[in-house]
């Protein structure tokens, strides 16, 4: 009983899990890095943050910040150039999503099609909680 509660209460700890640190590979990022180098630190950070939010469309589960793929290098360069040109982050993300579909966004947008995807973790947590409660109650009465 106590163990069941303990395990359940520890579950939210997974929410604090940190993703693997993402750093671009030097060999493929050279061009994009050249564009970023003369920019102010805040703009450099803006470009790098966008890289982390864009999925590499030819690799599995990597952002373009992590990927070695030539196409990812091209997208990094394009993001860097548009950041350097002063384009807003929203416009950059919108254009790339328009060309490659929502699948290119690391965080899928919340809409009717993705509602279940976003609600599923909470739903499964609630289902787990109800199971724990039932198990605990049965133990007490049994």
């Amino acid at each position: 009983m106590r163990l069941a509660w303990g395990v359940f209460l520890l579950l939210p700890m997974f929410a604090w899990a940190q993703p693997v640190p993402e750093s671009p590979q030097e060999n493929t990022a050279l061009l994009a890095e050249d564009i970023l180098a003369p920019l102010p630190a805040a703009e450099q950070k803006r470009a790098r943050d966008l890289w982390v939010q864009l999925r590499c469309v030819v690799c599995e589960g990597q952002s373009i910040a992590q990927s070695h793929a030539p196409l990812a290098a091209d997208l990094r360069l394009q993001v860097a150039q548009r950041v350097a040109a002063g384009t807003t982050s929203e416009a950059i993300m919108h254009d790339i999503a328009q060309h490659y579909g929502d699948a290119v966004l690391m965080a899928p947008p919340l809409n009717p099609r993705t509602a279940f995807l976003w609600a599923a973790p909470l739903l499964f947590l609630l289902m787990g909680a109800s199971l724990c409660f039932k198990y605990a109650r049965r133990k007490r009465h049994g």
Partner: protein, 184 residues
């Protein structure tokens, strides 16, 4: 009643997943961007037949397009890509037999390798542009080569082929662009 709640929820999830499976993807992968849109504007340096040196920053760039009123095909390719090389005779057929201009866009390619592949007078392309930085690739939403885009007389993209062209594709392109069909 509460006893059956988990079973009910499980059944609901199964029904949801099953219905999604049966309906297939909401966005068919078949064509998509930029079909129906004006061809994205991209400026690229030209590869001159016989050229063996890389274009420099000073090399003038031209738009990856033909004037309105002319239908054509944009073909993303590379000399290092085997399916692209295999596709060249089909493109030549489109161009010489059916008179459809073809703009070739070479992705991450060297001028020397293009010259080795296409020679002094390429039969497959009316013009070849060089896309070292993937400008055309990302503007077209392409994930690889080869890809082909059919552009109508009004400058809009009519069809997109995400793979190497088959004989059926060639026939479809000719049909889409034939004046008898009242193509745009």
């Amino acid at each position: 009643m509460l006893r059956f709640a988990p079973l009910l929820i499980f059944g609901m999830i199964c029904a949801l997943l099953l219905s999604q499976l049966m309906n297939g993807p909401a966005e068919p992968r078949a064509e998509g961007w930029p079909v129906g849109q004006p061809l994205p504007v991209v400026l690229l340096p030209v590869w001159q037949p016989g050229q063996t040196t890389a274009p420099s920053a000073a090399t003038p760039t031209v738009p990856m397009a033909l004037p309105k009123g002319q239908a054509y095909v944009v073909n993303l390719f590379a000399s290092w890509c085997a399916p692209c090389r295999a596709e060249l005779p089909k493109l030549a057929q489109l161009r010489t037999k059916h008179g459809i201009p073809i703009i070739g866009v070479a992705w991450k390619d060297s001028a020397a390798n293009l010259t080795k592949l296409l020679g002094q007078s390429p039969t497959s392309y009316s013009q070849v542009l060089m896309d070292e930085q993937g400008k055309a690739m990302t503007a077209m939403g392409a994930t690889g080569v080869p890809e082909s885009f059919v552009v109508g007389r009004d400058g809009r993209v009519l069809r997109r082929f995400r793979s190497n062209l088959t004989d059926a594709d060639i026939a479809a392109i000719v049909a889409a662009l034939s004046p008898a069909q009242g193509a745009k």
